[in-house]
Symmetry: C2
Subunit: 328 residues, 2 copies
């Protein structure tokens, strides 16, 4: 099977939308953005051995490659619409592509995302997706905008994916609930959209809560305090690890794809109602304060210094301890 058979295999499962004037099969896609809406666009690449372990099932890679991109749209409060997919494969493997598309289309269907173009090439296994959505000009959530008096919220239960990865790497059994969170993160698209007009700033958590909240604080020119006692913990994670080791996974683990956002304390009930409409759990984990940086408090009130703040590609400290990452 050659390149064009692979493309046909993928195109057959591209999904349909009325605003796709011309999809896969020409030099470019022709797409209709609704009047009065901004285009929202992001692109993220997953490389084998860096963003997922080498033996990750194809379906999990297909799901996750789309999920990490939809998570970026969610953080902007955008409505997903289309994506482009570049797939680099070491060999022509129809079974792998079918598995990949099983995961990809399962998530694409949930969010009505149509695949409208891209390419398949030979190369080390890598998936690059560009995702597109819409938002009304005043509705987009950004990293800047957090203010003193805002509370800091997190959706879901951070740390689960990082715990799954860590246990896997030391050869210990992984609870299915944690493995699911590593392989099939659920992008918080509904929550992002419900938070329009409520959240003052928002970011998706991919490199760890502290690292990504750090970006939000920097963009907003402000500081924060986090309370470890308020961190929401999944049942599976609580069974697996506790204390500082858990805090580190939850605040600096990465791969969460949750939303971290700020909102005025006075709007707390509105935020709770918005998250309920989105069927998304969420909790206040701290507050915005004057200054810069993020202080973390232990349950007894003492300050806590995390040993690392999150994942960075090319970070010398992390490259030295690459045993922590699937790329090792």
């Amino acid at each position: 099977m050659a390149e064009f058979s692979l493309i046909a295999r993928i195109a057959a499962r591209a999904g349909r939308r009325d605003d796709v004037v011309l999809g896969i099969g020409d030099d470019a896609a022709l797409l209709r953005v609704p009047a009065g809406r901004l285009l929202v666009a992001a692109q993220d690449t997953l490389n084998s051995g860096v963003h997922f372990p080498l033996d990750t099932p194809a379906a999990a890679i297909g799901w996750k490659a789309l999920a990490v991109n939809l998570s970026d749209l969610a953080a902007m409060a955008a409505e997903p619409a289309w994506c482009l997919l570049s797939l680099s494969l070491p060999a022509d493997d129809a079974g792998w592509v079918d598995g990949f598309m099983d995961g990809f289309t399962a998530l694409a269907a949930q969010h009505r995302v149509a695949l409208v173009g891209g390419d398949t090439t030979r190369g080390p296994l890598s998936v690059s997706i560009a995702v597109h959505g819409f938002v009304a000009p005043g509705d987009a959530l950004c990293r800047r905008g957090a203010q003193v008096g805002d509370e800091i919220w997190i959706t879901g239960t951070p740390g689960d994916a990082a715990a799954a990865l860590q246990r896997r790497q030391v050869g210990q059994p992984v609870e299915p609930a944690l493995q699911q969170r590593l392989d099939r993160p659920q992008p918080r698209v509904a929550a992002g959209r419900e938070l329009r007009g409520l959240a003052s700033a928002c970011i998706d958590v991919s490199d760890g809560v502290l690292a990504d909240l750090g970006h939000l604080l920097e963009a907003s020119g402000i500081g924060a305090e986090l309370d470890l006692a308020r961190l929401p913990v999944s049942t599976a994670l609580a069974r697996t690890v506790d204390g500082p080791a858990r805090w580190e996974l939850q605040l600096a683990g990465g791969d969460d794809y949750e939303l971290c956002f700020t909102a005025p304390a006075a709007r707390k009930a509105d935020v709770q109602a918005a998250l309920q409409r989105a069927d998304t759990p969420g909790a206040v984990i701290g507050r915005i304060v004057a200054g810069s940086g993020c202080a973390v408090r232990q349950p007894d009130g003492r300050p806590w210094q995390p040993p690392r703040r999150g994942y960075q590609h090319f970070d010398p400290a992390l490259v030295a301890s690459d045993r922590d990452r699937p790329s090792a």
Copy 2:
């Protein structure tokens, strides 16, 4: 230097446009598509050792990665606007990134393309670009639409890039004019736009004239005849190779990034005027005929069977003779 320093290095040279509401530095870009225009979107990936030889200068990779994507917009008659860039690098190398951005921004500035997002990750060297432009709904050129009575045109002089690659791979000196065509293809954006309302069908030639014309014929449900005597030949290529070896490079070589398009024979003078306005050379190389497939005639009128029709990833015949490609 870590990931965020690399991003800052790239972001400093992103380019500006009034329709970029929010560019690099948030979870996604916010972009304004002009009223009454369709969004045109394409994504192409270049992998080291597959799409360019391992020792290709960083600036040539930066230029070419954008050029192959702009060539897709050109074929749709679109006006380029924005792109997203995913860069996978084996190591943090500021000098390489600066060189890459030199080539990238040189071409981006020519076409007023702003870089609005993407990511940098660790992995085997790979560049994936998603490019975006606009076109009025009735103006887009597609692969379908060629009709009996149309002439087949090609811009530029196909075969130059393939000749450069071939000579390089057998260790022979490469004329600078041919090397330039391999490293810095010039996407035919102006020609595509001038051909709106004139060309009946259009495709960009990346895998070789026969392969890509084949896609156009298939999409149009029609056949073609090509005359080898009418193929435009660059001075440098004519000095380098002749006869069937030249024909093969010109029709099945790949990496041309020229436009192959069809137009009614009665509009020949209009097409010539359009190409002149675009400052783009072009020539008639054949005609659309009833049926399917493409017949090629030698200068003496006899039929010619090319030994291969173009480049396909995962083509077993090509993988077996991979010595022809930089990936070997």
